[in-house]
Subunit: 187 residues, 2 copies
DNA sequence: AATAAAATTTAACATAAGATAAATAATCAG
DNA sequence: CTGATTATTTATCTTATGTTAAATTTTATT
């Protein structure tokens, strides 16, 4: 739990009581490389914290698989478009490496919001921050060339190339594998 | 205030006390067509509710003006990447028509969060919903053609063409005016 | 280690969208 | 109402990325 608590502290430090309450709704999950943590069609009812490993969210656009995002150690991952709407998700979460996660039940978490305003505040801040990241991602996709986006990704996550197959990176960047290979070939 | 209260009710109905507390931190603002409501370089300290009119958020990418989003009546608009980080915004909010707005001071609002958890919950839900919209927008930009995005916009906001100049729509769609004109010409 | 499977690169050609410039249409200010 | 400004369209040419297919390299399995 230490990693998770440090993560929380970056947003909104919690009282001991609140930490204990969260600890009670957490479960450890281990997942083998390439396995889905959550599958397409199910409603998102769990928020995961990554202790070890790499995750991606992916979905299909007309039988082509698209990677929406990656998440590495000490980050939270959830399919928010399902978590916040209660609708089934068209997306899946897959672990790209053998991974260790902490699973937080969203129903129980939302219950805790009623007894611990500080927990509601914590997650408000976590998701506000994720929201800002997504707003910035729109800008990145819309107005930077594929090459610029590739370089920006390398700068942001220098180890992504070591840990994530290029085919996933290509669709994350919004281009084909062939295009990515071309961009990489230039230098 | 009635429109604003109805808007709130869609997310999290408030007690009378909470409504009164919010009412106290609201101001009416009228803005003429084409005027900036908030300008580039200032930190976002106000959340606006649009009673009448159309707003857009825009910014510059290498001296080319880009429209990030539009907002119509009965919606909230704010430059969240500044609101949630406290950093100065590279973006401006402009009113495309003569408009009436309600301005909510973000500092005072965040203070109210401490006395009214229900207000914090309300805005948590409002921004969670906006976050989901942004996640969906990433998908739309990344994996639909410009023509698909144009048609989707028309379906979503059928009156956008009557109320918003095409040059703004073009950059919102991530294409040039010339490209948009070409797409429109096809049919 | 050998083979099979998967991932990545390379090549050739096609296409959507960009850039620039000019023409036309719509809007605005006096 | 008229000229001036701004917005939109049309035309031409260029370019980045897509598509398909084949070649090569890497990884996984027996």
């Amino acid at each position: 739990m230490n990693e998770l608590i440090s993560y929380f502290n970056k947003y909104n430090p919690l009282s001991e009581n609140a930490i204990n309450a969260i600890a009670e709704i957490c479960k450890s999950v281990n997942i083998k490389k390439n396995q889905d943590l959550q599958s397409i069609g199910h409603t998102c009812r769990t928020i995961y914290f990554i202790k070890k490993g790499v995750a991606r969210i992916y979905y299909y656009k007309e039988d082509i698989e698209i990677t929406e995002c990656f998440a590495f150690e000490n980050a939270i991952i959830a399919r928010v478009e399902s978590l916040f709407t209660g609708k089934p998700s068209r997306k899946a979460i897959q672990m790209i490496e053998d991974s260790e996660l902490i699973a937080i039940s969203s129903a129980k978490l939302f219950d805790l919001y009623n007894t611990f305003p500080e927990i509601e505040r914590l997650f408000r801040k976590i998701f506000e921050s994720a929201y800002v990241d997504t707003v910035n991602r729109v800008e990145s996709i819309q107005f930077h060339s594929a090459e610029e986006r590739y370089n920006a990704l390398l700068k942001e996550s220098p180890n992504v190339l070591q840990r994530v197959p290029l085919k996933y990176i290509a669709s994350y960047l919004g281009i084909t594998q062939v295009s990515l290979s071309r961009i990489r070939g230039i230098r």
